[in-house]
Amino acid sequence: MRIRTLVQSGIHLLGVVISSLSLCAYASPKDNSLVVAFSTPLTTVDRLYSIQREGLILSRLTDDGLFYVNPDTLEFEPLAAESYQWINDTQLDIKVRNDVRFHDGSPLTADDVVYTFEWVLDEASETSRGPVIRSWLESVEKTDTDTVRFNLHLPYPMALRDMAISIPIRKAGTYDGTRGRENAAEDIPLNGIGPYKLKEFRAGREIVLERFDNYYQASPKANPAIDTIVFRVIPDQGTQQAELLSGGIDLMMDVPPDVADNISHLPGVRRKEGNDIRIGYITLDAAGYSNPDSPFTNVKVRQAINHAINREEITRYLVRGSAEVVHFACHPRQFGCDSDGPRYPYDPQKAKALLAEAGYPDGFSFNLWAYREKIIAEAVVSNLRAIGLDVDLRFVKLNVFSKVRNDRNMETFFASYGSGGTADASASAGVHFASNTARNFTKDEELAETLLAAEQTINPDERKRLYRNALNRIAEQAYWVPMFSYSQNYLLAPGLEFPVPNDGVPRFWQASWSEQ
């Protein structure tokens, strides 16, 4: 939003004034609370009905799934599950822990697990998670007192991922008497099994959590240091900065690097940088959906575009932090993100030569669409103009962008993808080049089949081989211009200890106040 940019600019200008006065108050850790700013309001605290990233952050505090994502290795490990065993490629047995309690004090049982997954499988539940889970899970049944069997339609190696990220366990009967999206409303009290329980939810304003004292000690999330966590909804980043300086909040997330540079010099603010599994990329309409005669249907043109963009400098000077250049259609930390396909170093002369070979020695005109990081999109436009292309930047809001992209009316677009925090190539290449997705701007059926096979193969080595083949193919055909991985900037109040996450999803149970 333009307003936001202007407000931020004003904040930067006034930073000097504030620092000279040095009268800002510090957040007080006396009550052992933590106040975090959310830029987007959460419409529900129930993860089964929430699609927002903020919902995932919250759910990791209030809920536990059967599995969880290890913050260090990003692998999926048992959480509310005691153990698990693949009986065969389509049957998974999970033993449920017997020391887990819901926030209302009742114990977690296998019946609760069965109820949760049956609810998600029921189309009438209208959960946001339903379509994905139904695509691989056929049924779920209790096989003994504490064991649940999952019967899959097909082999699906990401089953543990979905259980870890998407499905919080609900107490049997939670949704009785309700149906569909009604559950997403704030009327049903959240009864999770996470290390924090919900104390107050004021939609669009704030969410208050307090530590759950009966949380099971065997959990890697046990014994969090903070007593109370408050999420305040403050949409404007300029206002968030003022709140941080005045002690109204203790932590800001998703801070743009230029803002972080300026604000972190002020007294009372500390900056931390972390990794993010999100990558930036440019899609080229290789299939000619937007225009059958599009120059982008020519592989030489696509390769020229790849050579024309100076990814190293864009990453170093505009994205900054821990960002790295990405050469393939996945994040380097993702499982299967290993390719020996061609790389395209910055070489404008070679790009011009490729354009000439493709029959466009004088270039051509097209639009580059984008909805975020305008400065990066402008840098890309500048690089492309330098090789003689007439590029017009169409910078629009996300909802407009999605519409034009889904209608496949874009010749090229700059976008990003966070893979839902999943460290697996199925969540990046698998999502963008599958045959059924509007994101796929190729008509490469062989590639789609390779990716589908990888998604339905349990053997890790075979999956890696399939992903390597797919990524090589994407690189050879230059369907994408993979750009960079993102870096996450956090601004913290002094004294707040907070280990930065590896996947861009903060785990606030790890936060604490140091002695001052």
Partner: protein, 305 residues
């Protein structure tokens, strides 16, 4: 008078219908609500299911008339984003906006009227020049900048008021000053001009000859006529504040109708956007109508005409 009210009422309905159709058409053809609801990172299966669940796969005309039919019976539908009845959302958010609009109108009146009267009583003096400078400055300063200055000064550097939120009366002080300041120039200048005109009229000269001075001359004799255009402007300004507090609510993170409108637009929440625009349009038309009626009450010549 009845014909006048009926004519204005009919015009309001036509405007509301046109605006609602325009809004729907813009959103339908420019955005993909299913993708927005599912989230940008959502898998295709989820987007497709949402398209089916919400009926976005039906023809556009069917979707529009479906909404319009329900709206005519008072059912404005359910918000795609908040998953709540739109009416409930509006009822929840309206108090903040109404409070802010009224408080800022008070700020406008408290600053603009004394300034305008002072300027009119001593035209071309330093008082007049001060008042005009204030008006020009207030007009030139953007809302977000003034908001930012006040936050930096009165919430960060000298923490007298909270930075953001709408929980207590203290949260309304800074935003009311910001929103109120934006209307000061129009009201101040109109007060000055109106009062100058009235003060040079024959009946005021007669009143002065009869010995009316000071408060009795200005308030009892002159202001009644000078108020006529001010009432109209204040009504329009109130409409502006009720429907145009988007920037102020965003900067101060207030959960009012303005912020709801922005969030709904960015989230392609068509039922909420349409309902809000309908409300904003009707509010504006009704306030203008109210201004005309008050003017008619204040000025018998308008009633007669």
């Amino acid at each position: 008078m009845l014909t006048f009210i009926l004519r204005r009422g009919l015009m309001a309905i036509l405007v509301a219908l046109t605006v609602s159709f325009g809004t729907f058409a813009l959103f339908h053809y420019a955005t993909d609500p299913a993708q927005t609801i599912a989230g940008e990172d959502a898998p295709q299966e989820m987007v497709d299911e949402i398209r089916k669940q919400y009926g976005f796969d039906r023809p556009a005309a069917v979707q529009y008339f479906d909404w319009l039919g329900s709206a005519l019976t008072g059912d404005f539908g359910e918000s795609y984003f908040w998953k709540q009845p739109v009416v409930q959302l509006i009822v929840d958010h309206a108090p903040v906006t109404i409070t802010l609009a009224l408080a800022s109108l008070c700020v406008t009146v408290l600053i603009a009227l004394p300034l305008g009267i002072s300027a009119a009583l001593k035209p071309n003096s330093w008082v007049d020049r001060f008042a005009l400078s204030t008006a020009v400055s207030a007009q030139a300063i953007p809302n977000f900048w003034l908001g930012l200055m006040l936050i930096i000064l009165l919430a960060v550097t000298f923490p007298i008021f909270p930075v953001s939120g709408d929980a207590t009366w203290r949260h309304f002080v800074l935003p009311s000053l910001v929103l109120g300041a934006s209307s000061v120039p129009a009201v101040m200048r109109l007060t000055r001009t109106g009062l100058l005109d009235v003060l040079s009229s024959d009946y005021i000269r007669t009143a002065r000859a009869k010995g009316f001075t000071g408060y009795r001359l200005i308030v009892q004799q002159a202001m009644r006529n000078a108020l006529l255009p001010i009432v109209s402007v204040l009504a329009v300004q109130l409409g502006n504040k009720l429907g145009g507090s988007v920037v102020t609510e965003s900067v101060f993170s207030m959960n009012g109708l303005g912020r709801l409108a922005v969030e709904s637009i960015f989230n392609s929440d068509i039922p909420t956007v349409q309902s809000l625009i309908l409300i904003f349009v009707l509010t504006f038309v009704l306030l203008t109508l109210a201004a005309d009626l008050i003017n008619a009450w204040l000025d018998p010549r308008i009633r007669m005409g």
